[in-house]
C-alpha cells in the first residue's frame, strides 16, 4: 500500500481513505453478507479474493436486486411496477431461495474505482458522481488498499487547518 503523493505534498485518494475497511469474500453466503450489512448499516462493502484483489461490491442495492422480480430490475425491463402486489413475505421468500448461494452470484463487478494516487479533487468529483463509497485499488496489483466514504471525506475536511 502506498501513501506517497505523486505531486509533492498534494493530497490524493490515499490521504483520506480508510486503510482498514471491512470486506466480504466472493465465497461468503448471501445470508451472511446480508446480515453483515444490515447489522452495521453499511450501504455497501468491497468484495476481495484471498489475495486481497478487488472483485466488486455487495450492498443494499444487491439486496434489492435479489428480492425484486427480475423483470423489473433487468436492463430494458418493466418501466413501471405499480400493478405488482407482492407482499413483504413474497420478497423474503425470494431472498430465502438464494440465501445459501455465494455473493459472487449477485455482487456488482463493474465498479468505479480510484487509485491511491488519484488527486484529491478528482477523487471527490468521482465520489460526488458515484454517490457511494469508493474503493481505492492499486492499479498494478489490483489489490484493494482502502475505501473512501463521505464520512472519511467530511472528517478529513473538518480536521484540516483553515
Amino acid at each position: 500500500m502506498t501513501t506517497t503523493h505523486s505531486k509533492g505534498t498534494h493530497p490524493t485518494a490515499s490521504t483520506i481513505m480508510d486503510k482498514n475497511p471491512s470486506v466480504l469474500h466472493p465465497t461468503d453466503k448471501i445470508s451472511q453478507a446480508v446480515e453483515c450489512i444490515m447489522k452495521h448499516r453499511y450501504r455497501r462493502l468491497p468484495v476481495v479474493d484471498d489475495d486481497g484483489c478487488f472483485m466488486g461490491v455487495f450492498g443494499v442495492t444487491c439486496l434489492l436486486r435479489l428480492v425484486l422480480p427480475k423483470a423489473v430490475i433487468m436492463d430494458k425491463g418493466l418501466e413501471s411496477a405499480a400493478y405488482i402486489r407482492d407482499s413483504l413475505s413474497d420478497l423474503h421468500r425470494r431472498l430465502k431461495e438464494v440465501e445459501d448461494e455465494p455473493i459472487s452470484l449477485c455482487m456488482r463487478e463493474e465498479m468505479v474505482r480510484v487509485s491511491p494516487d488519484t488527486p484529491l479533487i478528482e477523487t471527490l468529483l468521482i465520489l460526488y458522481k458515484t454517490g457511494a463509497s469508493l474503493p481505492v485499488v492499486d492499479p498494478e496489483t489490483g489489490k484493494l488498499v482502502g475505501v473512501i466514504s463521505y464520512f472519511d471525506v467530511g472528517e478529513n475536511i473538518l480536521a484540516a487547518e483553515v
Binding site: 422480480p69 427480475k70 423483470a71 436492463d75 425491463g77 413501471s80 405499480a82 400493478y83
Partner: protein, 446 residues
C-alpha cells in the same frame, strides 16, 4: 429499367458490374459475420458505391425508399410515446387475468396479444414490450418461461406477416410495389389467422399440457392490478386515438391518395403535438430528446445504406441478369418460380437477416418481366416473398431481430434460450408454416 442508358464514371476504369457485384457480396458477408455493426457496414458500402462511380449522389438518393424510412420512423415515434402510457403492460396483465391466470391460458393470450400488436406495430417493439411482462408472470407462476417466449417469438413473426406495417420486409415490398395496407390484410390476413392456431397446437403438445401452477402462484398474478399499469391516462387516450387514426389512414390510404409514410409521420407529429401541449418549452425539448432517442437509428441508417447498395447493383444490370437466370431455371413457370421464392426466402431468412435479403429480392422480382400476366402476374411472387421472409425468421434465434431481443431478455432473467435447442423445435415448425403457406398460395393464386 433504365440501366445502361447512363454513363458510369468508374474509378480506375473498373467494370461497374464487377465492382458493384463484389461490393454487394462483401457487404452481405460483413453483415452476416456481425463483426461490425450492420449500419456502419451499409453506410460504408453505400459511400463506396458512390465514390466508385456506380452512382452519383443524386442517383444514390433516388435509390433510398423514403416511404419505407418515413413509415418506420413515424411508427417508432408513435410507439415511443404510446408506451409511456403503460397501455402495453395493461393489455398483457389484463389478458393474463382474463384466463384466471391459468398457465396455458396465459400462453395463448400472450401469444394472441403479441400477434395482434405485431400486426399493428413492428415486431421488435412488440416483444420489447411483452417479453418483460411475460417474465414477470412466469416468475410469479413459478413456471419455465421458455414455452412462453418461444410462442411469443412465433406469434410476433406470424402476426407481423399480416399487415403492411407488421414486419420490415412487408414495408419494403409494399412500398416498392405499391401494395396497400388492405392488400396485405386481405391477402395475408387469412393465412396468418390459420397459422397462429397451427403454431399453438405443437406448443401445447410439447409444453402446454405439462404446464401447472399452484393456486397460490396463480393468485399472485390475479392480485396484479392492471389499472395501475396506466401511468398517464391523458396520454393513453391521446395515443390510442392517434394510433386508431393512423391505422384508419393506412386502410383508407388509397382513397385519400396518401402514402403510408405521410400517414405515419403525420400521426407521429400529431401525437407529439398533443402530448407536448401541457408542457413548458423546456420540458418539451427534454421529452422530445427522450422520444427521439427511442427511434432505432441503427435500423434507419442500415436501411438507407442498404437501399443505395442495392440500387447501385440494380443500375449495373446485375440483378436483371440474375432474375433471368432464375427464370431460365424455372422455365418461366409462375408456379415453380413462386414456390422457389417462398422456400428460398424462408431458408435464407432463418439463417441471415431478412431485410438485406428482401432488399435484393425486390428488384430481382421486378425484373422477372418474362413471366406471363405482366405486373399482375408477379403478385403470387410478392406474397411468396412476404410469407417466406417474414415466417422464415422463426427458423432460428438469429432469424429475426425480435428473436434476438427475446433471447436477450431471457438471458438477463437467467433463462438462456439455447440456439440449438430453439432451432431443433423452431426450424421444423417454421418449415411446417411454409408448407401450409405454399398450399395457400397455390390454391389462391396459381
Amino acid at each position: 429499367m433504365d440501366h445502361g442508358s447512363e454513363v458510369m464514371h468508374m474509378v480506375f476504369g473498373l467494370d461497374p458490374q464487377w465492382y458493384a457485384g463484389i461490393l454487394f457480396a462483401l457487404t452481405y458477408l460483413m453483415i452476416m459475420s456481425e463483426r461490425i455493426n450492420r449500419a456502419i457496414v451499409s453506410m460504408t458500402a453505400a459511400g463506396l458505391m458512390v465514390l466508385g462511380g456506380v452512382l452519383t449522389q443524386e442517383t444514390a438518393l433516388e435509390g433510398i425508399d423514403f416511404n419505407t424510412i418515413g413509415l418506420l420512423t413515424g411508427m417508432m415515434i408513435i410507439v415511443a410515446i404510446t408506451r409511456q402510457s403503460g397501455i402495453f403492460q395493461y393489455l398483457a396483465i389484463w389478458s393474463a387475468k382474463k384466463v384466471k391466470a391459468s398457465p396455458w391460458g396465459i400462453l395463448v393470450m400472450l401469444s394472441l396479444v403479441t400477434a395482434v400488436l405485431s400486426a399493428l406495430l413492428d415486431n421488435v417493439t412488440t416483444v420489447l414490450l411483452i417479453a418483460p411482462v411475460t417474465l414477470l408472470i412466469t416468475d410469479s407462476l413459478k413456471v419455465k418461461p421458455f414455452p412462453y417466449l418461444f410462442a411469443e417469438i412465433f406469434a410476433a413473426n406470424i402476426g407481423g406477416t399480416a399487415t403492411l406495417i407488421g414486419d420490415p420486409p412487408n414495408i419494403m415490398i409494399g412500398s416498392a410495389v405499391g401494395l396497400s395496407f388492405n392488400d396485405f390484410l386481405f391477402n395475408l390476413g387469412p393465412i396468418v389467422a390459420l397459422l397462429l392456431p397451427a403454431m399453438l397446437l405443437p406448443v401445447y403438445l410439447i409444453w402446454g399440457r405439462h404446464l401447472h401452477a399452484s393456486s397460490a402462484a396463480r393468485q399472485r398474478v390475479m392480485d396484479y392490478n392492471e389499472a395501475d399499469a396506466i401511468t398517464d391516462k391523458r396520454l393513453l387516450w391521446q395515443s390510442v386515438l392517434v394510433l386508431a387514426l393512423v391505422i384508419t389512414g393506412f386502410i383508407l390510404a388509397h382513397d385519400i391518395r396518401q402514402q403510408p409514410a405521410t400517414i405515419a409521420m403525420f400521426g407521429a407529429a400529431l401525437l407529439l403535438l398533443v402530448s407536448s401541449l401541457p408542457r413548458s418549452p423546456g420540458e418539451q425539448s427534454k421529452n422530445l430528446e427522450h422520444i427521439f432517442s427511442r427511434v432505432e437509428w441503427i435500423t434507419i441508417f442500415f436501411f438507407m445504406g442498404l437501399f443505395v447498395i442495392v440500387y447501385g447493383v440494380e443500375k449495373t444490370g446485375l440483378l436483371e441478369m440474375l432474375a433471368n437466370r432464375v427464370l431460365e431455371m424455372t422455365g418461366g413457370d409462375t408456379a415453380l418460380t413462386t414456390v422457389s421464392i417462398i422456400w428460398t426466402s424462408a431458408i435464407a431468412s432463418a439463417l441471415i437477416d431478412n431485410i438485406p435479403f428482401v432488399a435484393a429480392m425486390i428488384p430481382m422480382i421486378q425484373n422477372m418481366t418474362g413471366l406471363p400476366g405482366g405486373a399482375d402476374g408477379l403478385m403470387p411472387l410478392w406474397w411468396a416473398l412476404a410469407l417466406g421472409s417474414c415466417l422464415g425468421g422463426n427458423g432460428s434465434l438469429i432469424g429475426a431481430s425480435a428473436n434476438l431481443i427475446v433471447a436477450g431478455f431471457a438471458e438477463r432473467a437467467g433463462h438462456t434460450l439455447q440456439f440449438l435447442r430453439f432451432m431443433l423445435i423452431a426450424f421444423p415448425l417454421m418449415l411446417g408454416s411454409i408448407a401450409i403457406s405454399t398450399v395457400y398460395i397455390y390454391l389462391r393464386y396459381l
